[in-house]
């Protein structure tokens, strides 16, 4: 089911909200079960054939978690239980996501023609990572014993199930357990609706609005210099508004239930370095990769060279997590290389004179953005060769068309660029503070004028009017 669809907005969400709060007047547990069942229904509407896999995954991980948390196992058995859990998760992910890719490469190497056609279960990358984090923390002794309904809801919680943000059990389950969340909070619902509206607008009007321009670079056999740049920039903005729109909608929906989700985007294109970019882009994935991959690999604790190796491995696997294709591997490798260069630069040039700080920040922002755009070309292209063709066109200013279509595209891209660099982000507008569970304090204190509310109404209206019959989220493919 899509957030940006009439059935979801007009039927599913109101019914689930009403049921949740109605049950919340009678018990603290039944709303949790209701929400978990609603989440499964949400998943089933779009991917009924994978519901069993999701339920099995929950049962398997909850069982392993039980062994690690409740059963009094010795150290070696605990390690074996963790290994079994993580290997089981990765095996399922590997089969569903990477089997075809592996076979394709074996075929290419050995000249064989085996065919493997496996459908990718929606959200598998997200719920697998979520549960691996749970198992690792359980092994580390950082997890209390959770009730099955709460754990099941933590995994299936529909606002995040399909495309994140990647949730952490320590953040979420205590919120599910609180009685206060079962009572409707008008302020949180209002803020939730506003954040949802912004996200919906980002998706239906901005991301879907610029999507046709992407074809200029990626669906043309030999794009010109300006077409390649327009297409690459269009994709850069489409991906951002698509994914951050989804994340905003997830946060907004969740707030209506009184639950605070982590922020996933913080104006990433305003970053002045690649290191900063990864603190602002897909924040929950960055945190996961850092805590459960980079640090266990050794992080920066074993010298500079190993640190760079660990960075590269982390980003390569991060790239592969996005999709089973060499384009994603190259994308990850590029970002790994960027991060190494960034850290090396910081080591060589520790401080910049204050007189040069501002130009350096601007230069850093421009360079970072360009590096990100170049990497997105691989992320979007059908193949590495195709990406190289687009990049080659981007580097050849002698071949320019600059016709009516290209000028119109540039105007549109300029508008999007202004939004990205000059407009405040969603959490800035609403004062969303995930850590302190606060949102919209200015609204609560009456410091926001009616004009703000009507502006939000307009955004919601256009978000709804922008709904199209065929518009998926890009991250559904990962």
């Amino acid at each position: 089911m899509l957030f940006n669809s009439y059935p979801f907005i007009l039927l599913f969400l109101p019914v689930v909200l009403a049921g949740y709060f109605w049950l919340g007047r009678r018990s603290n547990l039944t709303p949790v079960i209701w929400l978990a069942l609603a989440s499964l229904a949400f998943y089933a509407i779009g991917s009924w054939q994978f519901v069993a896999l999701l339920v099995l995954s929950i049962a398997f991980n909850y069982g392993i978690g039980h062994l690690l948390i409740v059963a009094k196992l010795g150290p070696s058995r605990r390690k074996a239980a963790l290994a079994l859990g993580v290997a089981g998760d990765l095996l399922v992910l590997g089969i569903f996501k990477y089997a075809g890719f592996a076979v394709e490469n074996v075929n290419a190497l050995l000249g064989m023609h085996f065919a493997v056609h496996i459908l990718l279960p929606v959200g598998i990358s997200f719920y697998t990572f979520t549960q691996i984090a749970f198992l690792v923390d359980a092994y580390r002794g950082q997890v209390a014993a959770y009730a099955l309904p709460h754990y099941a809801l933590f995994v299936t919680y529909f606002p995040h199930l399909i495309a994140g943000p990647i949730l952490h059990h320590k953040d979420m389950i205590p919120q599910f357990e609180r009685e206060e969340t079962k009572r409707p909070d008008g302020h949180l619902i209002l803020c939730g609706v506003i954040i949802f509206a912004i996200g919906l607008f980002k998706k239906t009007c901005l991301a879907d609005g610029i999507q046709p321009l992407v074809a200029l670079a990626f669906e043309t056999r030999s794009p010109s210099f300006d077409q390649a740049w327009c297409g690459a920039l269009a994709y850069t903005f489409q991906l951002y508004f698509d994914f951050s729109g989804y994340s905003d909608m997830a946060i907004g929906i969740s707030l209506m239930f009184g639950i605070f989700l982590p922020v996933n985007f913080n104006s990433p294109y305003k970053a002045t370095s690649i290191v900063e970019f990864w603190r602002r882009w897909h924040v929950t994935l960055s945190q996961f990769l850092r805590d459960y991959l980079y640090i266990p690999l050794g992080g920066n604790r074993h010298g500079r060279v190993l640190r760079y190796v660990n960075l590269l491995i982390t980003m390569l696997l991060g790239g592969l997590w996005h999709g089973a294709a060499w384009t994603f591997v190259v994308w990850g490798a590029l970002h790994g290389a960027y991060l190494c260069v960034n850290h090396a630069f910081n080591a060589v040039v520790p401080t910049i004179p204050s007189a040069l700080a501002r130009p350096a920040r601007i230069g850093g922002a421009v360079l970072t953005f360009l590096a990100v755009v170049v990497a997105w070309v691989f992320f979007r292209a059908e193949s590495v060769a195709w990406a190289l063709r687009v990049l080659h066109a981007m580097a050849d200013p002698s071949n320019v068309v600059f016709g009516r279509e290209e000028i119109a595209a540039l105007v549109m891209i300029a508008v999007y660029a202004a939004l990205v660099w000059l407009a405040p982000n969603t959490q800035g507008i609403l004062g969303y503070d995930h850590a302190n569970r606060r949102v919209g304090e200015n609204l609560r204190a009456g410091r926001m004028r009616p004009l703000f509310l009507y502006g939000a109404s307009l955004v919601l209206a256009f978000g709804i009017l922008g709904i199209q019959s065929h518009s998926e989220f890009i991250y559904f493919r990962f």
């Binding site: 302020h187 030999s222 009507y454």
Partner: protein, 368 residues
Amino acid sequence: MRATFTSLKRLLLASIAFVLGAAGLTLFVDPLQLFRPSGSAFYSDDTRVQNAGLIRSQSFDTAFMGTSLAIHFRQSDIDRALGVRSLKLAMTGSNSRQQAFVLEQAIARGARRVIWEMDDFIFVDAADIEADPYLSVDLYRGTAKGIASYLFSAAMAKESLFALLRSVPPLQGPLTRAAPFLPVKFALADVDDIYALPRDFDIAREYNAKKALAAFAYITSPVRSRFLGEGYGYDAMVRHFERDAVALVERHPDVIFDVYFPPYSILQFVAMRDASPATLKIVTDLTAVIATRLTQLPNVRLHDFRAIKAVTHELGNYGDVIHHSPVVDAMVLKWLASGEYRVDPKAPLRSLDELKAQVEVYRVPGLP
């Protein structure tokens, strides 16, 4: 607490009001001219949507259909060459289902003649027209769902707002001139300009032998040659031809159908010959069926331009292996008017045999 619920109610009610206001604006401006023709309307290159409005708002007796091979024609040129009042409904990348559906609507609105540029590849498998995500049958049929999707649309509200601004006298000139360079769809002041190449278009730059040969090299490269026959299947294509073309012709015996096979460059067939012979066989077998079948229908005139050596072997006419220049567009109209390449019902495969012979002996310039 009560205040926040009041604010929430106010926000939702205001949103409903804005949605209704946007729908009202679109209804008032009607950029597609679905409800009423307008002399001051502007037009869009988004043909799958625009055609729904054109069929309802324009006056015509001839529908001109095709794919990207027929997209650059100007209605005024068609009218002049053939002495008709045409409506160009060609759609890039369209399939036979879409074309037949749109033609059906045009015939229902008064077309008595159809000029149909027919490619073999339009008969590949395609989505059911009722579920086609790229062409809204409801919009064409004017059902409640179609009208609602038109009125309750952010894109249409934006277009309507722009049209409204453009109608304000001081802004009229500047916005009309700027429209083609702005991200608005309804930017063309003249219906004749829909997808037509600009009058000052640099033909030599876009259509030349170098481009045609580069395209040939690209599609015959071993890593891509399998795409030449992608979606091609003889039985299915014949079925689709019967369902979409023959059935349409038979349903409308009072309508004259001028069907023509466009003059692809010889490289199109040579590419198949060299890189995908099975595809070439499907294409020739299919066109044999099409030629035989169509020439038997009393209200069809079939024209075959594929074997006109003077054009198809002159690679300077092409932007790739199939798309020909506006110079050839003009020739096509001339040939249609004169009927000089009309297929003889008694020998429907003569031009196909000629083409086969040409393909067999052709050697690509620059290749051993």
